[in-house]
Symmetry: C2
Subunit: 417 residues, 2 copies
């Protein structure tokens, strides 16, 4: 039995049917659509003010507890999630001719990705539901985030990942003690298997889209952006899209704060996908209908053919008058390097895709010189070293001899410093 | 020309000769020994109080600026370094029969290791010295930290690493745009080559031991520990030792705060090394003399045969009435897993060595039940995925079929959940 003070129910994003807050809720009982969580905003407004926040010394997602779907008495994981840094990049802003360029480094979360936000919420919800095992399908990051959160709480998890996931992401799951199921197939197939398994074995289901609370965890990044920028939100936010849940979550966060009058305007949401896995972009920029494709990009976190939260993603783009952008794998590789060298942030491919999308859109002249732009960098570059290696050439290798070094430097004009 | 308000000079750790604060300073002009940085503590005491710190909203190493050797006007790197989380682990404390077990997760720093602290300081010092290129020898982490800091500041770096460094650490350097020199030899050989090259090419030298300011960067972790624990320092601090600079730095930090009356006692420093690379432990627990060895451990960050800051390390252990502990590579591998599963922190081998040392010492009965222990976990597990893979067995791999999953679960008793 669930009774969360400020949550008053759910609304289906497909058929708009509403449901009360009781019971274990996943998708719409009528049409199977994903759900939005509804709050009593009057109640929230009394608990969450700029003044209270300015005094709050909890620099984690839990500072936004009145806007989160958990019980007052629930224990949260000890790992410190959220309040990741936002960096101002004036040189890049000048290079691209815009007013301000900001990056938010989500790779600084405990397991190295944005997914620590929803996964932290998932373990709390699972405990509230009295579940003993949590499961998720994952291209890698959601799984390691859930595995880490479960380890820190002494809970058990079963993670379904495509066998092609990067070694770092798989080993993280195992080190944390999760039961790992490598699926010989795509992320989409791993997802379907996870859904079936959760039903058969009665596991708590964390998977993106099906679990309505993951949007709520993801929205915390938007709440932070507003607060970290002193309530003056950027004009445009770029983020990569796989299942579409992150962009949907960010948009929900901005809308929540707008409804609470904590911010007075909303950013335009720009979702970036790889050309080989662009189902959401095609829908958002086309007729709005999402069509399943055979996904193909090296950016594993967004290698999704059947995005499970596409409706929320398309809506975020449409409602915010944003856009969808496609980038090539080569553009993503270049973005990893350019981003690291100009900001000091080493991002995984999907994270760097946000920068690649910005580069492309700025190049097309679609961003005005008066705009302030923020990129959400969703994962740490250390998550996928093999991908980063594609962006560089083998380094100089010599014996420990100053003469060999001297000679090598003379030979190579790049060494003239 | 350098003039730093609160720094009054340097003292050689070998011959105790003192030097003034002017000029570009590395090692003792008389005997070549490493230097300690001396402060005007009366001046510092007026600028750094508990009250001022409690109001300081800079949650980075720069909140301790009066105790750092940089000019007031100097610009610091934008990447947010330090103020890493300290986690209380009550279940582990109970398992080991001690009052409290705390871990400080240094893997949460911008490039994933403790070395972001000294490297952030190095780029500031290099800018103050008007240097255009910074160099360091590194087993990996110091290099990637310096590379990241340089990238964020638009500065150039040359990094010397042994060719055996883990791929993740090497690719990080390259992504950040450093000039990388892979040396076919040991860390010790890479170190000597870096020293020679810096002299020949007039590069600013960051390498551990030679650069006296690295201790000052490293001490910030101790300052944070004191403040994060509300000025009640732990009884014992465990940390791995390679060159010995981290333990020396932590000890300097605790001593600085003690001298400023911000804490009223000092912890016992316990340095942990791998059995195959235990020059400092052998010296500290023996006659105090450091003897070079041929280092051999898979924990690359502490695979050091000729520790460059051994005098400071041995002194930290002796002055604090601490200890040196040796652990096997197998014990380190076990520690990675146990630590991750009980705390949610995935640590690299050298970091997990601190936990392995604690396990060994606790097992020997040398830690009293009344003690509060803190482990400094110096690097992120994502830095060395191959090492972590040694700790786990290949996961279950199946086709996307619920029947295959069902059968696999029935076969394996570990899946009974």
């Amino acid at each position: 039995m669930i009774s969360v003070s400020n949550v008053i129910g759910f609304e289906c994003v497909e058929c708009a049917r509403r449901f009360g807050a009781g019971g274990l809720v996943y998708t719409c009982a009528q049409c199977g659509g994903n759900l939005d969580v509804l709050y009593d905003y009057d109640l929230v407004a009394r608990q969450l003010t700029r003044e209270r926040l300015s005094e709050d010394q909890r620099f984690t997602i839990w500072r936004y507890r009145p806007l989160l779907p958990i019980e007052e008495s629930s224990i949260v994981p000890p790992l410190t999630v959220g309040w990741t840094p936002v960096y101002d990049c004036p040189q890049l802003a000048t290079e691209f001719g815009i007013r301000q360029l900001l990056v938010k480094d989500e790779g600084r979360n405990p397991t190295g990705s944005f997914k620590d936000r929803p996964s932290a919420l998932a373990v709390v919800r699972a405990q509230e539901a009295g579940a003993s095992v949590i499961t998720t399908a994952s291209s890698g990051n959601a799984g390691s985030a859930l595995a880490g959160m479960c380890a820190s709480m002494g809970m058990r998890s079963v993670i379904f990942v495509p066998a092609s996931a990067p070694p770092a992401k798989i080993v993280q799951l195992q080190i944390y003690g999760s039961r790992v199921v490598l699926v010989d197939g795509s992320y989409d197939e791993a997802f379907d298997l996870c859904v079936e398994a959760a039903r058969r074995f009665n596991w708590y289901q964390r998977s993106t889209g099906i679990n309505p609370f993951m949007t709520e965890g993801k929205k915390t990044a938007a709440l932070e952006i507003a607060e970290q920028l002193d309530w003056d939100v950027p004009d445009r936010v770029f983020v990569a899209m796989g299942d579409g849940c992150i962009i949907g979550g960010l948009w929900k966060g901005f809308k929540d704060f707008h409804r609470l009058n904590l911010i007075d305007r909303l950013p335009q949401m720009t979702g970036v996908q790889a050309e080989g896995a662009a189902a959401i972009v095609d829908a958002a920029m086309g007729d709005g209908t999402v069509r399943e494709i055979a996904a193909q990009t090296f950016a594993d976190s967004i290698n999704v053919g059947r995005p499970r939260d596409a409706t929320k993603a398309v809506r975020a783009i449409h409602e915010s008058k944003g856009a969808g952008i496609k980038v090539t794998d080569e553009e993503i590789i270049s973005a990893i390097v350019r981003l690291a060298r100009s900001t000091g942030v080493f991002a995984e491919p999907a994270a760097a895709a946000a920068f690649a999308g910005f580069v492309k859109m700025a190049g097309s002249g679609a961003i005005k010189s008066s705009e302030r732009v923020l990129l959400v960098l969703t994962g740490n570059g250390l998550k996928d070293v093999a991908a980063a290696q594609r962006a560089v050439t083998p380094p100089l290798r010599i014996r420990p001899s100053i003469d060999e070094l001297d000679e090598a430097i003379r030979r190579d004009s790049e060494w003239r410093m």
